[in-house]
């Protein structure tokens, strides 16, 4: 626990630093370099890697001071967050030095290359192969559903390096340069009309030895870290808002960066159900007077609030070291339940107008987008069924399902 008095002096320190350094006339890159060098861009990171080693409460206070000053922060949204969290835990010092800085400055965008046509839930069943050739690795195979891969400079790649081992023991985690001839990215259209995920094809793509994260054939452990961060922060990490406005060229640059970063994610708030709109919508349509709908709304608000409070408890417990690890799955199931209920409530409120879509439909098409986006919540980032398996087997210690995939991977049945 951090003391209030410490927070007060920290706030003073941030204020003073911002007063001396924040200048909206600078270029975004100039400013980000300042952030990286001072540690204020990633205050919870270690001091030797662009941070200040501060606890979450301090990070929040700092973010508030930045907001109050209208100051732009570092670029940590989306898969950049997952990449940095994973590298901080499993990367070697060289990798941290090479990649973390450019994540914070926003120079590099990242994507997650886990799922394959034949292995989604069964992530460890990946068949994209990495073969050793001289001092580097050659990648062949296909990934799919890779959000934002069409904007990415680097990918977090899980590939098979040993086919004779059981499946979890033959995977290796790599950083792959997406801007090379052997990597082909094709956008995939979704049922809601957006195209934020991709298919990625590797044909003799190259990965160097120093892009191997963790140890050879131990990639599963690294992937689990990435997934844990993804689940825990499912509802939070994706979007950034261009909430900084003011005079000065930096704001325009920042708005542009946010626009590109958010392009694949514009529908993510809708997929989460837009609980924030429910009461307003019920008031504007008159549904607020319908007792059956009032009940639904109150139920939704309760569910949403309890999930937020659970998240707060979880963050404290993580800090105190009293968690077991897979608790993020509880948050993720809660997010699915909220989204599904919100979609139902929006439908009740919207009545027959729920048949419409597009700019002329309620709230500029936002309501329609909720209805056709919510089905993604219980699939993306690990399906609800997988989360329930994790909760029951790893949090409740229930007997495991009998397994049919424990032998050498090359002998395991697959699609």
């Amino acid at each position: 626990m951090i003391m209030d008095t410490d927070l007060q002096s920290l706030r003073q320190e941030v204020k003073a630093w911002l007063a001396d350094n924040w200048d909206p006339q600078r270029s975004l890159m100039d400013w980000r370099i300042k952030l990286v060098e001072s540690g204020w861009g990633a205050p919870d990171w270690p001091e030797e890697f662009y941070g200040k080693n501060l606890p979450p409460a301090a990070v929040n206070a700092i973010a508030e001071e930045f907001a109050a000053a209208g100051a732009v922060g570092s670029a940590q949204s989306g898969v950049r967050f997952l990449a940095s969290a994973t590298l901080l835990e499993h990367g070697n010092d060289d990798q941290k030095r090479t990649y973390l800085r450019r994540i914070l400055t926003g120079e590099d965008a990242w994507c997650q290359l886990f799922s394959e046509p034949g292995s989604g839930s069964d992530l460890a069943g990946a068949t994209t192969r990495a073969d050793r050739k001289g001092d580097h690795w050659i990648i062949n195979g296909q990934k799919v559903w890779n959000t934002s891969a069409h904007h990415a400079d680097y990918g977090l790649l899980v590939a098979r390096t040993d086919w004779d081992q059981p499946k979890h023991k033959g995977l290796t985690y790599f950083i792959i340069d997406m801007r090379q001839p052997g990597v082909e990215v094709r956008q995939l259209k979704q049922m809601n009309g957006h195209a934020s995920f991709n298919e990625v094809f590797f044909t003799d793509a190259k990965v160097t030895d120093d892009q191997l994260v963790g140890t050879l054939n131990d990639g599963w452990q690294v992937a689990v870290t990435t997934l844990a961060y993804e689940r825990r922060s499912f509802a939070r990490i994706r979007t950034v808002t261009a909430d900084r406005h003011g005079d000065g060229p930096i704001y325009a640059e920042y708005a542009k960066e946010v626009e590109i970063a958010n392009e694949p994610y514009t529908w993510y708030p809708q997929r989460a159900g837009r609980v924030d709109l429910v009461v307003e919508r019920a008031q504007e349509t008159g549904a607020i007077d319908d007792p059956a709908i009032r009940q639904e709304i109150a139920k939704l608000l309760t569910l949403n609030q309890s999930a937020q409070w659970y998240g707060a408890r979880l963050r404290e417990a993580q800090k105190a070291g009293t968690t077991r690890g897979p608790e993020g799955s509880i948050s993720k199931i809660a997010a699915s339940n909220i989204a599904r209920l919100a979609s139902d409530v929006h439908t009740s409120i919207t009545d027959i107008d729920a048949m419409l879509t597009g700019p002329q439909s309620p709230r500029d098409g936002i309501i329609a987008e909720i209805l056709v986006s919510v089905p993604a919540v219980s699939i993306a980032g690990g399906t609800d069924e997988i989360q329930r398996n994790i909760i029951s087997e790893r949090l409740l210690d229930m007997p495991k399902e009998p397994r049919f995939d424990t032998g050498p991977f090359k002998d395991v049945k697959r699609n």
Partner: protein, 376 residues
């Protein structure tokens, strides 16, 4: 409280009805594959003339429930239900619900003998597309929701007001409109080219069905049947029952697709259908589909028996639309990532299910209606 004798009857389709189902089913499998659905949903008209002609001609589907005296084949709600169920399964893009069912029933139940003789044959043969315009504000039909004004003038009437969500309102040659006169709700016939009518397509979430907003500005119209005597509730029941049968056809298609995929898809060295998490949900879905089918079939039977079908119709609508949507959600979920793509066909049914949930009244509204009809 009895719901009507229909609910107490034992019910099975006859051999002829089963044979009829097979013929319709085969035709639609052939003519309405999802490649055709995808092509047609992107067109303005939304259906294929040639298939429509065959459907109405060779198969005689548009006149199925219309008596022979008016150019139809004189079958009843049960056979109509079979035809609808098969259309729902195949996600047929056609003005069938709007023209044959909605406008067809409105004229059949509300127009005078002469009018039926004149107006029904082209609907029964499919040579004319008709539509029924009721909804103004809510999707749920109620006496108080109709405000479109009809004023007598010369020998006829003039209509002013607005209708929304008119199924096939943009393509219709003839529109049946519910309006209000001093005597109450009345049915009117309006020719598509009539002065003062303007129909504009409404962008629909479910592109396989075309809906329109229609504005009436002092439009000349002919009264159907007697003024103030539009049998709105009877028309509603008949339409809801046909609609419920369409929805359970869609639900069955989704159930089949979900199960097929669960048997095929391997993860963790085994078919995903071997996980009880999936298997039990397939079983639950079958339970829900069978129960919803029972309400839809029984409602058709009740209507065929000439009994008050209000309770059965609203039960069927509520049960079928919830079942349909649930089947769609489960089908997407069982497919995983691919179920959320445009390329996979599941979303076509999902969107039909989602808009069917609110079209002609939400499940909640129908639950209230059925309780009210039971006197509860």
């Amino acid at each position: 409280m009895m719901i009507g004798r229909g609910t107490l009857m034992e019910f099975a389709f006859t051999a002829e009805q089963e044979q009829f189902r097979e013929i319709v089913g085969r035709f639609l499998t052939d003519k309405s594959p999802t490649t055709a659905v995808r092509r047609l949903m992107d067109t303005e008209e939304g259906y294929e003339r040639q298939v429509w002609q065959q459907l109405c001609g060779e198969l005689g589907l548009a006149g199925l429930h219309i008596p022979e005296a008016y150019g139809g084949s004189g079958f009843g709600p049960v056979e109509l239900g079979v035809a609808m169920e098969e259309q729902g399964r195949a996600l047929l893009c056609a003005p069938y619900l709007g023209s044959a069912v909605m406008a067809g029933y409105a004229i059949l139940l509300g127009a005078s003998e002469d009018q039926k003789q004149k107006l029904l044959p082209p609907i029964a043969t499919g040579s004319k597309i008709a539509s029924l315009a009721v909804t103004e504000r809510s999707g749920f039909w109620s006496e108080t929701d109709v405000n479109l004004a009809a004023t007598p003038e010369g020998g006829g009437y003039r209509l002013s007001g607005q209708k929304r969500f008119v199924l096939n309102g943009g393509e219709a040659d003839l529109m049946v409109v519910v309006g209000r006169t001093a005597a109450g709700l009345s049915l009117f016939a309006v020719e598509s080219g009539a002065d003062g009518v303007s129909a504009s397509p409404a962008p629909a979430m479910d592109p396989t069905r075309k809906i329109a907003d229609v504005i009436f500005d002092n439009v000349p119209a002919v009264l159907l049947g007697e003024e103030g005597k539009a049998p709105l509730e009877d028309i509603y029941n008949a339409v809801l029952i046909a609609f419920a049968n369409e929805m359970i056809g869609g639900a069955q298609a989704l159930l089949t697709s979900a199960i097929d995929y669960a048997k095929l898809r391997v993860q963790f060295g085994r078919a995903i259908g071997s996980f009880q998490a999936i298997k039990h949900r397939c079983a639950d879905l079958l339970v829900q589909v069978e129960l919803a089918k029972s309400t839809a079939y029984q409602a058709a039977q009740t209507l065929a028996a000439g009994e008050d079908a209000t309770v059965a119709a609203s039960m069927a609508k509520a049960a079928a639309s919830e079942c349909y949507l649930h089947a769609a959600k489960e089908c997407i979920q069982f497919h995983g990532g691919i179920g959320f793509t445009w390329e996979n066909d599941t979303h076509l049914w999902f969107k039909r299910a989602k808009s069917s949930e609110v079209f002609l009244g939400t499940p909640k509204q129908h639950r209230e209606r059925l309780l009210a009809a039971m006197g509860v």
